[in-house]
């Protein structure tokens, strides 16, 4: 489709949807980055935690018919699973090389996949939520989009502020930088790490629910979480504020690629994340906001 054929309405909707999707990506990406900051490891099990949270929400929502219960239960499950992974996997592996953590969390990914199958099977369903559409000029905004905009951004900002401005945040950053040193100063390292993971679970759980509302509860949600990892790396694994931008870049790229590249490369939209990631990693190996490591011997 030629560029000139695209009118304002299409453009504005493309961008709007890209940004919305991007915000959801950045919520999940924030989950990755919080874990990275706490433990210097990527939690590759996140996609399955996201799925588990979504199915929990589906089950509780179907049983109780109340969305707030669903939301609460999903976040509880997400936080609990994150904390369990920290306790059972990340903590024993403290101080081991990244390959061990990558392998172990991939193992958890695999195991949780089984758990998700037991819990939710592979149902495709929608969360019972009354969604209204509001027309704002060229845009059509749904209730859940409003929730994403009004809910997710404060949450993201809150996490960043917590990290930057409070003494709790300073303690978490201290632990992230040097766990052993922090322990020597009497910081409750394990609790702080656990808190990092719990926070990651919370943000991830919220992202998972909003994603599930925006699309459907289905096994495909795990692919969103894998793509969110790309957003996380685009921002830089140790950056927190940057994930919002990383997510939005990714969301926009997906929309634009689907719109303009699809005729030449069908279905590139869902893979553009990785093309973008590869390109960015070549140009900026530690992401846009990540801090570069200095090699020492």
């Amino acid at each position: 489709m030629a560029l000139e054929a695209v009118d304002v309405e299409t453009w504005s909707n493309l961008i709007f949807q890209g940004v919305l999707l991007g915000i959801l990506y950045s919520l999940i990406a924030m989950g990755y980055n919080l874990v990275y900051r706490a433990n210097k490891s990527i939690n590759f099990a996140v996609p399955q935690v996201v799925l588990l949270a979504a199915y929990t929400a589906l089950i509780t929502a179907t049983a109780t018919g109340r969305l707030e219960v669903a939301l609460a239960s999903a976040i509880i499950v997400s936080v609990a699973v994150s904390m369990a992974i920290e306790r059972g996997v990340a903590r024993p592996l403290l101080g081991r090389p990244p390959i061990a953590l990558i392998g172990a969390t991939l193992g958890v990914f695999y195991a949780l996949k089984g758990v998700v199958l037991v819990v939710g099977g592979s149902e495709v369903a929608v969360l019972p939520l009354d969604i209204d559409y509001y027309r704002l000029g060229a845009l059509t905004v749904a209730t859940n989009d409003l929730i994403s905009l009004l809910g997710a951004i404060p949450v993201l900002a809150g996490v960043v502020l917590l990290h930057r401005k409070t003494s709790f945040g300073a303690a978490m950053r201290a632990v992230a930088e040097d766990a052993e040193g922090a322990a020597a100063y009497g910081l409750p390292v394990r609790r702080l790490m656990l808190a990092g993971w719990a926070l990651a679970g919370l943000v991830g759980g919220l992202g998972s629910i909003l994603l599930a509302v925006k699309t459907q509860v289905s096994p495909d949600l795990e692919y969103y979480a894998i793509r969110a990892l790309a957003a996380s790396l685009i921002a830089g694994l140790d950056s927190l504020g940057g994930v919002l931008l990383g997510g939005i870049v990714l969301g926009l790229a997906e929309q634009l690629a689907s719109k303009f590249l699809d005729p030449y490369l069908p279905g590139i939209g869902s893979d553009i994340a990785f093309l973008l990631l590869l390109l960015i990693l070549f140009v900026k190996p530690y992401g846009f906001f990540g801090s570069e490591r200095i090699e020492r011997v």
Binding site: L94, G95, S167, F168, A170, A171, R173, A174, E177, D178, A179, E180, G181, A182, A183, A184, Y185, G186, L187, P188, V189, R190, R191, S291
Partner: protein, 261 residues
């Protein structure tokens, strides 16, 4: 009155097999400065890490024997629990948080000690340099300033026993002197008991009341500091006095190896 800290017959292992310390016993009397001397790898740091519990972060633990502080058993406890009891460990190599500013460093530790602005002020009175560089990234501080920050962070806990691991390592002699006078000052003014691990035996013995000498994971000699200062072997091997001062250039192949003890 029993000593403030006793380590009795401790055996310390790193995961899973590496035995580092065997049958280590030492005691620190309240209100004294005690030092542990010995070369790298002798087990000084390991001992302090075991006392403070930090060893857990290196996959190590005390497998035998016990460590007790003020009559309570603290063997293999969590480091934050031990810190709460007033045992603070300042690690080797100035382990401050280099990415954080001085203020944030203090905030981070204050998060767990609950130290208020008054306490922070009291601590900073000892280290006026830090106040000048309050919003500087800690990584940009000089070595001496970093060491001071490290000790300041420990002081936020109002420690009863302060364990310093090689505070002089890599510092210019001038700075080392300043540092040691600060340590003595703290000891006098705040009544903090100090356990010092040092390679720099001359400096350490100057300020200590009692000393232990470790090698290869055991204590090979111990005694009051003034006795140790006069000991022939210590003078030769640690204080660089005596005949060994003849220098390294005379080192020859045929020189027989002599081991401690």
């Amino acid at each position: 009155m029993p000593p403030m800290l006793t380590v009795s017959n401790a055996e310390i292992m790193y995961h899973p097999y590496i035995l580092v310390i065997k049958n280590l016993s030492l005691a620190v009397e309240k209100g004294t400065i005690t030092c542990i001397l010995g070369p790298n790898g002798a087990g000084k740091s390991t001992t302090l890490k075991a006392i403070s519990g930090v060893i857990k972060y290196e996959r190590g633990k005390v497998t035998r024997g016990s460590i007790s502080f003020e009559g309570e058993d603290i063997t293999n406890r969590e480091p934050d629990d031990i810190a709460k009891r007033g045992v603070i460990y300042v690690m080797e190599g100035r382990r401050i948080f280099k990415e954080l500013t001085v203020k944030e460093n203090i905030d981070a530790v204050a998060y767990t000690t609950g130290a208020g602005p008054d306490e922070v002020k009291a601590v900073l009175d000892y280290f006026p340099r830090l106040r000048e560089r309050f919003s500087e990234r800690a990584g940009n501080l000089s070595g001496g300033e970093q060491q001071m920050l490290a000790i300041a962070l420990a002081l936020l806990h109002k420690p009863k026993l302060l364990m310093l691991d090689e505070p002089s390592l890599g510092l210019a002699p001038k700075v080392v002197s300043q540092l040691y006078s600060t340590i003595v000052e703290l000891h006098r003014n705040e009544g903090i008991t100090i356990l010092l691990a040092e390679q720099n035996a001359r400096k350490a013995l100057e300020i200590s009341d009692y000393g232990y000498v470790m090698e290869n994971g055991r204590i090979v000699t111990e005694g009051p500091a003034d006795v140790l200062r006069e000991d022939k072997d210590i003078r030769e091997f640690y204080l660089g006095m005596g005949k060994a001062r003849a220098g390294y250039k005379s080192v020859k192949w045929y020189r027989r190896k002599k081991r401690w003890v």
